[in-house]
Amino acid sequence: MHTLRASTLEPATAAFDYTHPAGEPWLHTVRRGQVLRIIDLEGNQAVDTLFFNAADTAESYSMTDTMVRQGGIYLSTGTVLYSNRGNPLLTIIADTCGRHDTLGGACAAESNTVRYAPQKKFMHSCRDNFLIALAHADIGMGKRDLPPNINFFMNVPVTTEGGLTFEDGVSAPGKYVELRAETDVLVLVSNCPQLNNPCNAYNPTPVRFVIWDAQD
């Protein structure tokens, strides 16, 4: 289920163009009809991402609705990202990577103690990024608003025997995914700081966000 599709949009015509450092959070509103491109600048960087209906943030990205309504686990061109009310939040309209994960969740101090070792709880994590971004935004959101997320550019295959594996990424420098907002959405990103997992070569790197206004 690799559905590669390149975009015709040119960054020169973008309304917003921003390179975001490794390991940091990003909270941004994307309006209905706008297109968000996320570029994996150096390759195999996990971009942990949640989406919320900007008008009512109790309505959030739903991993299970998105998978069940498309009948499979991988996100790529054509995937509609559904909310926990069954509404489309965004559609993936271009993808030069071919596969993105939504099973692996976000790293956290607490899960690091389980997966790696007790002393790893003091390392920086995506959960910490989500929490500090929401705390600074001061919009009434917090830990309760953190359902399972998308990991753009991550490759987490499921085997036919029901195993879960973290494979080397299928991404590479410059690969991107592009999403059209179907409603006004709040985008919450942690540009993953995980240093314990070989899938990013133990080297978190920056990503670039480009936004185009609605084309009409």
Binding site: M63, V114, R127, R144, P147, T160, G162
Partner: protein, 255 residues
């Protein structure tokens, strides 16, 4: 307690090898039912698929801090699995073990597909409202869980992805789902041992990918008994180093 509720015949039919003196209560859920209950650690819940057609959409919350809740991505990646069976545990988002699967005659429970909602149920079964169908009306998993969550002051933001007991959905090489019909047999059971004081929330509405066109969700038996928590040599504790660390995290808060 057993004599007051006359549990023996029910236990004898649902869980004959259990000592009735250790049984706390029993219940039979109709298909499409919903339920929630606060339970102490060391309680085991045996769910029985009475007719071989059941699905139980299950959520767990820490009883005294409901912001701590079932986290399926953490559960799956800690144990390198995309299905659940005996030997697996269910992790909270705080690196602790809410419950463990102490026994299982089914072999595969679905942690990927969540619940149906009103639109999905209407598309599959048509309109079957209360006015015409009374309590045989179609109930969907999402609304059923929201009703139970509401009883505890919880709502949509607390409705995280659930486990679907008795249902199997395979994933092929291209990542496509395949619902396995007839996966669970009549009388099959799974024992969920609670390792923390928890709020259990469940719906017995059909699995969202169950292709059967008629709304005929299966009924589910429940026997709750005092089992104690996982011992030092327990298979769930020792199935992987991650789970030993998860139990250490869990037991720290009960010292």
């Amino acid at each position: 307690m057993a004599s007051d509720m006359n549990l023996e015949p029910h236990v004898a039919s649902l869980a004959p090898e259990l000592d009735p003196a250790r049984v706390l209560f029993t219940e039979t859920f109709p298909g499409g039912g919903h339920w929630s209950y606060r339970l102490k650690r060391g309680t085991t819940l045996r769910f029985i698929d009475i007719d071989g057609t059941a699905n139980v959409s299950l959520l767990l919350y820490r009883a005294d801090e409901k912001l701590e809740r079932l986290n399926l991505p953490d559960t799956l990646k800690a144990q390198h699995t995309a299905h659940l069976t005996a030997g697996h545990v269910l992790y909270s988002d705080m690196g602790r073990i809410l419950a463990s699967i102490a026994a299982d005659t089914v072999g595969w429970h679905d942690p990927l597909c969540g619940v149906s909602d009103a639109g999905m149920a209407r598309a599959r079964y048509g309109e079957q409202r209360y006015q015409e169908h009374r309590n045989a009306m179609v109930r969907n998993g999402r609304d059923s869980l929201l009703i139970e969550l509401g009883k505890w002051g919880l709502g949509l933001r607390d409705l995280v992805p659930n486990v679907n007991l008795f249902s199997k959905v395979g994933v092929d090489a291209d990542g496509r789902f395949g619902f396995v019909a007839g996966h669970s047999a009549p009388g099959a059971h799974v024992d969920l041992r609670l390792e923390m004081d928890v709020l259990v929330v469940l719906s017995t509405a059909p699995h969202p990918l169950d292709p059967r066109p008629e709304y005929q969700p299966g009924k589910v038996g429940l026997v709750a008994w005092q089992s104690g928590t996982a011992g030092a040599d327990d298979p769930c504790r020792n199935s992987c180093p991650e789970n030993r660390r998860g139990y250490a995290n869990t037991e720290l808060i009960y010292r």
